[in-house]
Amino acid sequence: MSDAISLKHVAYRPAREFAIRDLNMTVPAGAIYGFLGPNGSGKTTTIKLILGMQEADDGTIDVLGHTIPQGAPQALARIGYVPEKVHLYASLTVGEMMDHHRAFFPTWDAARAGELRRQFGLRTEQKIDRLSKGESGKLMMLLALATQPELLVLDEPTDGLDPVVRRDVLSALVEYVSARNATVLVSSHLVHEQERICDWVGVMDDGALIAELPMHAFRSGIKRLRVSGAPPVLPAPPFMMLGRTATAGAEEEWGVRGWQPEMAAWIAAQGAVLREVIDLDLEESFVELLRTARSGGVA
């Protein structure tokens, strides 16, 4: 499988207090890649680098076979982009904005655009500055999907939208992706939403990608173990110890990654008793991962 997006050793310092350092990231073609991270972790900056809106200080960026920023116009012709904040011209109407967008994208599908407009309940004569947040979100998604992109880059596309609008937007997205086998890079801090639609996940924190793996591996590999009687110093375990916290009595909770049931034997060999293996949902795994990365552990 080829890669839709590839970042190698990318460095960028947009401000004195924040920098992206040695960023390596790969979005496989056809994947729905969830780009997770807390606010201010560098997700939007990374997306702007990918789209050629900002120029990296170092490293290489390839998008759909084009080197960025030199090949950005060619790449952008095949990308549908929904930014974090409304970026449309406020004084235009919905219809005028659609006409304007169409002029720049030869792949514009007018029939599909009309269909989406009706599906989203938008009227051509509505002025953009009078649209609600949900309507603006729908219009941006419409513009992105109607260009029939091979790659969709969505930066917090459902942030601040009510559940009904969010469902409309996500269902239009899923419908498009399943019909066209497009690649999607979707950034969000709404972890549960990512869990439902993504098959790859990358976690960003403080300008660095601290994990990148298939969703199933991310979801199943991170566990919380309740252990009692463990010695204070342990030899190297067969799994990755993310964190170790003392709880009541002699019990401890271990956050681990790469857990397999047969590894319980290793715990027994240390003279400890494995009380419980707790499955973590994506949000808990995400928090565990961030906690480890921030305490200097290897994620």
Binding site: M53, V86, H87, A90
Partner: protein
């Protein structure tokens, strides 16, 4: 693509452009009415000349005003959204800037056309004395080229990196202040750098020289 860009800029600058066209219609009427005449024989040439030369200043002010507004409105909508939409379009940046500039120049052209048409109409309705002729096309071209200069200057500033513009403006202001200070202390006879700059801009083939010449609808 150009049509789409032109439409957005027309929409943003439309009220000012329409007002400018109305003013362009009023200026020649007012200029030729200033000459009290009943027929060609009773023409009062000095009054007519005064009216026409006053109109020259009004044309210049109109060109300057409309150029400034069109240049600002060209980038305002993009600037408000930090140019995110423009940067997400599959067009090289230089081409997008060129499209915006071209659309702005075309919009200034609409006012220039109004200047020419209304000038021609007013001149046709006024019984001009022999030896005097109307030059509405020449005036319209001069108006358009004259308006393009401030438009281009402001457009260039607004389409540049704001940090660089701030540095440039700070540098220019510093040089002017130092220049004026030296002149006031008697170190130099008159502000040297400012003098050179103004000479460069306004004299001979300077880009603003057009604003010192007369923009005459009627001349010998």
């Amino acid at each position: 693509m150009f049509r789409a860009i032109l439409y957005t800029q027309w929409k943003w600058a439309r009220p000012v452009l329409l007002l400018a066209m109305l003013v362009a219609g009023y200026i020649p009427v007012d200029a030729l009415r200033a000459a009290p005449y009943k027929s060609v024989d009773t023409y009062h040439i000095p009054s007519l000349y005064l009216g026409i030369t006053s109109a020259s200043v009004y044309y210049q002010l109109l060109a300057l005003g409309v150029a400034v507004v069109v240049a600002i409105s060209t980038w305002q909508a993009d600037g408000q959204r930090r140019h995110v939409y423009a940067l997400s379009l599959p067009v090289p940046r230089w081409r997008f800037v060129l499209l915006r500039f071209g659309a702005g120049a075309a919009l200034l052209g609409t006012v220039a056309v109004a200047v020419g048409l209304f000038g021609a109409l007013a001149a046709a309705l006024a019984p001009l004395p022999p030896m005097l002729h109307a030059y509405p096309i020449g005036l319209a071209v001069r108006f358009w080229l004259g308006a393009l200069v401030p438009f281009a200057l402001i457009f260039a500033l607004l389409s540049s990196d704001p940090r660089r513009v701030r540095l440039l403006v700070a540098a220019v202001v510093t040089v002017i202040v130092v220049d004026l200070l030296l002149a006031s202390l008697g170190t130099t006879e008159k502000p040297l750098i400012l003098g050179w700059v103004l000479d460069g801009l306004y004299s001979g083939r300077g880009p603003l020289a057009a604003f010192l010449s007369k923009w005459m609808l009627v001349d010998v």
